[in-house]
Subunit: 425 residues, 2 copies
């Protein structure tokens, strides 16, 4: 008997018919002798519907008070889906009980709309499991120490599932979604993209953070930190395929990278067009300047991704970074009103129409020339590179948004991903 | 400065436009210098939508486990509407905060789908009021001592509002609804029906319990028990009419009956077609038999309304009562399977196609002949009376459902309610 966490996305929960199918799949796992904790998302479209209603009524500028209400409203989507799934399981003759995040409780900080999980009390869940029940827990949400409902931000249900798996020391966390695994890149852009049977935790982290959208990045971080065995698989396989077969499907996120070292140099091409570029020009080049610029940005709860600072001329340098496109206007305002006067920088400029394309692969560590091959490929396509960053397992470039598809297709082909020369396939 | 509780029904909260109008009305009261606690229902149609989804998935026979899930699902309707109203108030520049029942907390027993409020902790609400905020609390729900979400049953938001008003010792509780007050009877059946400017608590209790549907009966009981000044009024008057004018509209439920004693004998005609009649025939007439029959019914959480037991013949009698039509089949089964064998009664019969029509009036206490006038009126219309019960301020008859409209119209006319000879008008 293993303790298994299942996570189902909004599409998998998209109708009563689909919820019934999820219940049948979960019931199958129970009958195979396992203890199940299930973390479903809201029914697809529901979170958008709720936030749409809220947007019609909310004050034009967000405050902590209004974000608190947004979270309370948005959190109801999952509160409905857990109840529905519990009923569907009971109808299958499987004892089940649902909990909202506040009931578990899943304790978070108070950063409304993007809260972070602090701790999960598993007492109640364990008691129910011991009593033979399937426990269904809302994704996406928790409760802060003041008793306010918080949400973890979009895609937060993945994080909830992995956090629950970590807290419960689950044997495996299965993320059921509407894709059947992690691909070398998005098949909608490159039809030749191939599913990876496994991917290292670090590669997955890069793929997720760069926009592969299969898993929320924080869920991958959590999985890595607590070594939660994680599998991404499709919820659209017939519910009654044998449990053993399901265990081999999808993509396994592994922590044993050694066995893959000799394999493909590049595992996949990731991309992200949800970012915007901001440059602070003519920054006095002196110690502490990066903190002076990014400190206020971080304090405003704005996530920064790529950060570039090049060598200076005449004691001044340009400092560039990217933020989520939704934070673009707010970040520009913040810089103009507070950072510019404080630092004595000359000017703030920005461009929201950019995208980031990255090549990702553990193999890169031991292979030279991977980055230059990437730059050559883009050059041959006439694509100008605006920013470059590198890490041990990825190389990212920021380019004009309109070249994104072209860049991804060219790189996918250049790194032989079309051919099936893919790690662990 | 007064502490005022507003309650808004589902129709008043039926769209973002209407919620905005509710916010404007509440803001007007705040600007007039009052402290406001608002208890809104779910947006109209929402509770039905949620329960409809649940019904598609739920096991065919209800259990405590499945009812727990139903409550958790249904309770989200109000959790959305409180958040939306808080946002709409914030957009008006009025500080506001919303709470779900579990956050207040509103403590209830564990009778899922028909829980009863045990206590309300007003600490948090008072602190927010003192901080200048409008506090918005979900109607219809609470939390039991195990931390499970419970609902109070249909119309429970009225009860929540009155209970909050009682706990806070509010100066007045205004129930905004889609009718503009309490009428001598339902104007859809009798176009000549007239609005009552005031009605005694006891009359209101009878009118509500008998199906006037303006207020949930438990809310009236609560109001009476804690002497909460209660006004039923329309939420469809323009939101910007002066507060003083709003205070004179609708129908006030009074506790000072003396001043009305000399007035009309009958204040209104109530009716209810949501009941079903059940008769246990040939019951041995011995002490304890009523309890033997109704004890198991009450244990099954089935509400009983009219109860009739007449004199016996040959040591046996017939025992009749009415239940909600939704409990009809369940009650029949219960009686056949457990009560019949236990009591030695001969047979159980029932009829779901009945209705109850009542004349209600404080004046009845001091006037003879009111009941006989009622019976004569029905007789003249050729309507057969199946059951009769009387109390100090009402006389009710159970008749064939198909005669309901006819009976109500005839009685409304016979007691001069058409003519405007109405208490306190």
């Amino acid at each position: 008997m293993a303790l298994i966490v299942h996570k189902y996305g909004g599409t998998s929960m998209g109708s009563t018919e689909r919820i019934r199918s999820v219940a049948q799949r979960v019931a199958k796992w129970v009958r195979a002798g396992h203890q199940l904790v299930v973390v479903p998302s809201a029914m697809s479209g529901e979170t958008n519907r709720l936030l749409g209603l809220a947007k019609e009524l909310a004050p034009p500028s967000a405050s902590a008070d209004s974000q608190r209400e947004l979270d309370a409203i948005a959190a109801t989507g999952e509160q409905v889906s857990v109840g529905l799934l519990a009923l569907a399981l009971q109808a299958q003759g499987v004892p089940a009980i649902s909990y909202a995040g506040w009931q578990v409780p899943i304790a978070t900080d108070s950063s409304y709309t993007k809260a972070r999980i602090r701790s999960i009390d598993d007492t109640r869940v364990r008691a129910d499991l011991a009593a033979g029940k399937v426990v269904i827990i809302t994704g996406f949400q928790g409760i802060d120490d003041q008793g306010h409902v918080t949400t973890l931000g979009r895609g937060g249900s993945d994080t909830s599932a992995v956090a629950v798996a970590a807290a419960m020391k689950a044997d495996e966390c299965l993320i059921y979604t509407d894709v059947d695994g992690v691909y070398t890149t998005d098949p909608r852009i490159v039809p030749e993209a191939r599913r990876l049977a496994s991917i290292s935790f670090e590669e997955m982290l890069e793929m997720a953070s760069l926009g592969s959208k299969v898993l929320q990045i924080r869920s991958v971080e959590f999985a890595g930190k607590y070594r939660v065995p994680l599998r991404v698989l499709s919820s659209f396989t017939p519910w009654d395929i044998p449990v053993e077969e399901e265990c081999r499907s999808g993509t396994l996120i592994t922590f044993e990278e050694d066995e893959k070292m000799e394999q493909a140099v590049v595992s996949g091409i990731a991309f992200n067009r949800d970012e915007a570029k901001i440059t602070v020009m003519g920054v006095p080049d002196k110690p502490g300047i990066a903190y002076q610029i990014l400190g206020p940005v971080a304090d405003a709860n704005i996530d920064v991704d790529v950060i570039i600072q090049n060598v200076s001329h005449d004691g001044r340098t340009d400092f560039s970074f990217t933020v989520n496109r939704g934070d673009y206007a707010r970040t520009l305002d913040l810089l103009k009103n507070t950072v510019l006067p404080a630092t004595g920088a000359a000017q703030v400029m920005g461009d929201p129409k950019i995208c980031k394309v990255s090549i990702v692969g553990i193999g890169m560590r031991s292979h030279v020339g991977v980055a230059s091959k990437m730059f050559r490929t883009l050059s041959e396509e006439g694509i100008n590179i605006q920013m470059i960053t590198t890490s041990e397992i990825k190389t990212s470039v920021v380019i004009d948004e309109k070249y994104m598809e072209l860049a991804v297709r060219a790189l996918h082909k250049a790194f032989d991903l079309d051919e099936g020369a893919v790690a662990a396939e």
